[in-house]
């Protein structure tokens, strides 16, 4: 007799674990099935090289929903987020207006930098060095974005309505949103519309004149997308990243103690405490469908499990094309699923360092290395990096977001050594034929790694000599390891046509699927990707509601 559950959650990524925790908390007999030996999906910590531990994929956190932290009591389960202060952007020599100077008025290093920190006064003083107009604009821009994030945030907790449905009830939350929209000033309304429709560059260009400032701010508009900073729709991603908050502070980023696996472990611990069973190395091979409803799963080992509800946290394509019995879904729905765009565009290079690199613009070990280091020195550089990707090549001089977690959490490396995490864009999943085509990444992996090291070395020439080990994760590697289709870190492109009631399939944005009792709870669903957990939570609550259960 197969084992029987109330709910089976496929995939032990952060959303799967969140879902399981909520389902178990409501009294459902719940099991999580994870393919790998570690939990967390793309939020994992692994000891890649002896003594060096890495947040292999996802590396910072800010979007994790506060209500999840609260309701699942995650701090008690070991969640500890260490703040990451500021963004340091080294730029080319001669770009700056006034060279940076030390306390004695001597010029520091060569080249220049732009350094924004959470301390407003310090950031303003730094920006003044570049442009007085930009300082004025910055004073206005920051609060405006906070207002925007406050306004839009409720949408993260909404179950998107089906615009084609005749049932008016699911539209009610939209009415609330419309009313709060009407309460905004006309200028705020206009800015909100711009955020939903403009490119990150065009949006920022209305305020700022300093090129590196626009480049480095626009960078958060393209993270995880196959879009350039001038592509319409990227301003929304800018806002998506502004919505993060830690302890109530907007746009604060942090790194979890012990790496992003620390978050997954805390959620897993909360799920277990609520009674969920979690099994690793238990890959699901098939979702069993009969009579139009999902009834259980078969593991790769041949073992079968039955459940009243199946909740899939893997992406929509993997769920319906790979796991569901072929022929058991409506062809129309299937073609919509195949239409859903993934287009992974990013890679990750993790380095074990003998010592910290020196940035020529500001040599030495300083606070500037404790935050994010952004290799985004010019608008044209960002755009050219994207151009490479459009034609099927990885960026020769990519955009890189660097974090050195050991400066905040020394436990990640042996004493005196460091780990450095480099998020890289662009690395298109589909390579051009000249680079080996779809399977080309196995041939291009090291060339890509070299491009990343060389790019950073433009600003920190001694980096190559400090590297002990290097792990290069191409989009193909991300797909193979985590199961994320085409290596898309958000389980599907965050483009306008794939958001809200169109995510993942128009008419099926309410976590249910055309197969009865099969639910989706991963980043393929509203409100999209990032270590947010909102998808897993809303899906679980929606499932519980459908069963008449109190969450």
């Amino acid at each position: 007799m197969p084992q029987r559950y109330d709910a089976i959650v496929i995939g032990g990524g952060h959303n799967g674990l969140v879902s399981a925790a909520y389902l178990a908390r409501a009294g459902l007999k719940t099991v999580v099935l994870e393919r790998r030996h570690v939990l967390g999906g793309a939020a994992v910590t692994e000891e890649v090289f002896p003594g060096f531990r890495f947040s292999v994929f996802s590396y910072v956190v800010s979007l994790l929903r506060p209500e999840i932290i609260r309701e699942l009591d995650l701090p008690r389960h070991g969640l500890d987020i260490l703040p990451l202060d500021g963004t340091f952007t080294p730029v080319y020599e001669g770009t700056g207006r006034t060279p940076p100077k030390d306390g004695n008025g001597n010029a520091i290093g060569t080249g220049d930098y732009l350094w924004r920190v959470n301390d407003h006064g310090r950031t303003v003083r730094e920006l003044r060095r570049w442009s007085k107009l930009d300082v004025e604009a910055y004073e206005e821009y920051g609060p405006l974005m906070v207002d925007m994030a406050r306004f839009i945030k409720p949408i993260l907790a909404i179950v998107p309505p089906d615009p084609a449905s005749i049932d008016p009830r699911p539209l009610l939350p939209l009415g609330g949103l419309l009313r709060s929209f009407q309460k905004l000033t006309e200028r705020q309304q206009a800015v909100f519309v711009q955020l939903m429709t403009m490119s990150a560059y065009d949006f920022l260009n209305q305020w700022f004149e300093t090129d590196p400032l626009k480049a480095t701010m626009a960078a958060s508009g393209i993270i995880g997308t196959f879009q350039g900073i001038r592509s319409p729709g990227t301003a929304y991603v800018l806002l998506h990243h502004y919505m993060g908050e830690i302890d109530g502070a907007f746009r604060a980023w942090g790194i979890p103690k012990g790496g992003t696996g620390g978050i997954s472990n805390a959620i897993a611990s909360a799920a277990r405490a609520n009674g969920a069973e979690i099994r690793t190395e238990a890959p699901v091979a098939r979702i069993q469908v009969g009579g139009g409803r999902a009834s259980g799963v078969a593991l790769a080992s041949g073992e079968e499990l039955e459940a009243t509800s199946i909740v899939s946290s893997v992406d929509v394509r993997r769920t319906f094309i790979d796991l569901v019995e072929p022929g058991s879904i409506d062809p129309e729905f299937e073609s919509e699923v195949r239409r859903f765009k993934f287009r992974g565009s990013s890679g990750k290079v993790n380095m074990a360092l003998d010592a910290l690199p020196n940035f020529t613009a500001l040599p030495g070990v300083g606070e500037h290395l404790r935050g994010a280091i952004s290799i985004s020195p010019a608008v044209d550089d960002m755009e050219r990096a994207y151009d490479d990707a459009k034609y099927g090549r990885f960026s020769a001089r990519p955009y890189i977001d660097i974090v050195i977690p050991t400066l905040v959490d020394p436990s990640m490396a042996p004493p005196g050594k460091h780990v450095m995490s480099c998020f890289v864009q662009y690395a298109p999943y589909q390579l051009d034929e000249s680079l080996g085509g779809p399977a080309g990444w196995d041939l291009q992996r090291e060339a890509f790694g070299d491009a990343v090291v060389n790019r950073i070395a433009e600003f920190a020439p001694d980096l190559p000599s400090k590297i002990l080990h290097r792990q290069v994760m191409t989009p193909l590697d991300i797909e193979r390891t985590t199961g994320l289709t085409e290596g898309n870190i958000f389980q599907g492109e965050l483009s306008l046509e794939q958001l809200f009631f169109s995510r993942p399939v128009p008419g099926w944005a309410r976590f249910r699927t055309p197969i009865k009792d099969l639910w989706l709870c991963g980043s393929s669903t509203h409100p999209g990707g990032g270590i947010m957990g909102a998808n897993g939570r809303i899906a679980a609550l929606e499932l519980l509601r459908s069963k008449g259960k109190r969450p």
Partner: protein, 540 residues
């Protein structure tokens, strides 16, 4: 500042005499309102113009087709009675490739599909998919036409009319059916490259269809929102997937003449050489205009046919506008990327892909070899350069309309070429030193599909975005007055809160392409604006 105000000299004064402004003027004059149109140039009609390139050789100056002109405008203003006559060739689009193959699109989808099957350049799947694609874009286009004909609602304080409007839109949305209504929400923000890739495998066909999604915009086929641009081009005419190809007999200037005659017949007064330099206002209400010669003209309503940026930033008093609106107006995006190259040809050029079929050349000749080629051409603009391999839409209007070359040597033809991408803001040098270089690039591309054409050119005119700005008052040289992106669309064209044709001041109206539903020779904004102006003036 108290006391009775003097009675305004005019009911309505219209700034500019572009085609939309003439449409508005004609509609309001028709109701008996005293209407005055003021045009800076000596010619009326704005972008609907015909240029004499040489003796006996006339060519469409800017716009070359007029098939998007609203049928209701033609009918209401009796344009055919006023001399407008339209020519619609059977072939809508001829897209030749350098290898001698071509995509030919007709008005009828079935005929197009049959053509695909016969010449065998396309796989059967694409031929099969074409009629369904055509049907789909027509259906979505019809919905957008309903939107285009309506005034965007007032979301802050919706009135009864807004509610009626919403109901009408709602029912037309429901009319799309369950799939259609889901589809339109998904499709509008898409990249046109993705839209065409969902239906077709052939890159040449994808590119030929995607062209209308980027035409006149500072976008490439991979830019989000370009699918909406394609569908907007379908709205309100019988273009379908192929798009309209309709010529005004005698050149686009004839449309301007017909509109002028109509406006005058209804009683409007038209003045040329009358440049408006300021819009006057009192207590937030527009009161009239001031001309460059200092003359002050008062009116109950001021209507601007100029683009919204020029109207607000240059003409309205900054104090009356206020800093917030001033900032927003200054940020209206007007990135012009279109140049126009007009050629006189000694004889008809040979397109090997047409295989001697002269009829194939009567439509729009689109040279857009592939989606990537279009995207690469667009890439240049991001770095302030013009594309060395521009994307072209050429017409040879003299084939269907020999009157354009009456009086020239026999066999003479004219070719009108819309060429992208030529950004307004160049990084190196300015357009005065780059225009001929770009003209050469355009001819170079023509040579790839019509070898020998270079030698046939007897006269050449290159109009760059700088010319468009200087001569036609188009800010940034943008033919659509403001970029037709998702950020300047419907409720927020040109700006949220100012999309209902009433803009910035009371009694100030916008009636040009910068207003909903946007650019092109449609008369749409002008017709919609007239409706709102009349509603306001009657209410008083």
């Amino acid at each position: 500042m108290t006391g009775p105000r003097p009675e305004p000299a005019w009911d309505v004064v219209v700034i500019g005499a572009g085609h939309n402004a003439l449409v508005t003027a004609a509609y309001v004059a028709k109701t008996g309102l005293r209407t005055l149109v003021l045009e800076r140039r000596e010619r009326l009609g704005g972008a609907a113009d015909t240029t004499q390139l040489a003796k006996g050789i006339r060519v469409p100056t800017l716009a070359h087709t007029v098939g998007r002109l609203r049928p209701s405008v033609q009918k209401d203003l009796e344009l055919s009675r006023h001399g407008l006559s339209l020519l619609a060739p059977d072939v809508r689009v001829f897209a030749p490739a350098t290898d001698g193959t071509a995509i030919t699109l007709y008005g009828e989808a079935e005929k197009t599909a049959v053509g695909f099957r016969i010449n065998g350049t396309l796989r059967a799947r694409d031929a099969e998919a074409y009629p369904a694609f055509d049907k789909r874009v027509r259906k979505l286009g019809r919905f957008l036409d309903t939107i285009g004909r309506s005034t965007p609602p007032d979301i802050d304080s919706p009135g009864l009319a807004d509610a009626m409007n919403a109901l009408r839109l709602g029912s037309s949305f429901k009319g799309l059916g369950r799939d259609g209504s889901r589809t339109i929400l998904r499709v509008l923000p898409m990249a046109v490259a993705d839209l065409v890739a969902e239906s077709f495998e052939s890159d040449a066909l994808r590119a030929a269809l995607a062209w209308r999604g980027v035409r006149f915009g500072a976008v490439g086929p991979w830019s989000a929102g370009t699918a909406a641009m394609l569908l907007l081009d379908v709205a309100g005419n019988d273009g379908g997937a192929a798009g309209e190809t309709v010529f005004a007999k005698g050149g686009p200037g004839r449309l301007a003449t017909a509109l002028t005659t109509a406006a005058q017949a209804y009683g409007a007064e038209l003045r040329t050489g009358a440049e408006v330099v300021r819009i006057t206002s009192r207590d937030g209400v527009a009161t009239g205009v001031v001309l460059a010669n200092g003359e002050e003209i008062t009116a109950r309503a001021v209507v601007s046919g100029a683009d919204p940026k020029r109207t607000l930033v240059d003409l309205v008093d900054p104090v009356a506008l206020g800093p917030s609106l001033g900032w927003r107006a200054g940020n209206i995006r007007t990135p012009g990327v279109v140049a126009k190259v007009n050629l006189a040809l000694r004889r008809l050029p040979t397109f090997p892909a047409a295989a001697g079929d002269e009829a194939a050349l009567r439509g729009r000749i689109v040279v857009a070899p592939s989606i990537d080629a279009m995207e690469r051409a667009f890439d240049a603009t991001k770095y302030g350069r013009w594309s060395e391999q521009p994307i072209l839409e050429a017409t040879i209007p003299s084939l269907a309309d020999p009157s354009l070359v009456e009086g020239a040597k026999p066999e003479t033809h004219v070719m009108s070429v819309i060429a992208q991408y030529a950004p307004y803001a160049l990084r190196d040098g300015d357009w005065s030193t780059n225009a001929e270089g770009f003209g050469d690039a355009v001819v170079g591309v023509l040579e790839t599909v019509a070898p020998g054409i270079r030698k046939l050119i007897s006269h050449r005119q290159v109009l760059t975005p700088a010319d468009l700005e200087r001569d036609y008052g188009l800010t940034g040289g943008h033919p659509f007055h403001a970029e037709a992106g998702l950020d300047q669309f419907f409720l927020w064209r040109p700006m949220l809160g100012h999309a209902r044709y009433r803009i910035a001041l009371e009694r100030l109206y916008l009636c040009g392409s910068g207003a909903h539903p946007g650019g092109g020779i449609t008369g749409g904004p002008g017709q919609n604006a007239a409706r709102e102006i009349l509603a306001d003036l009657r209410r008083r």
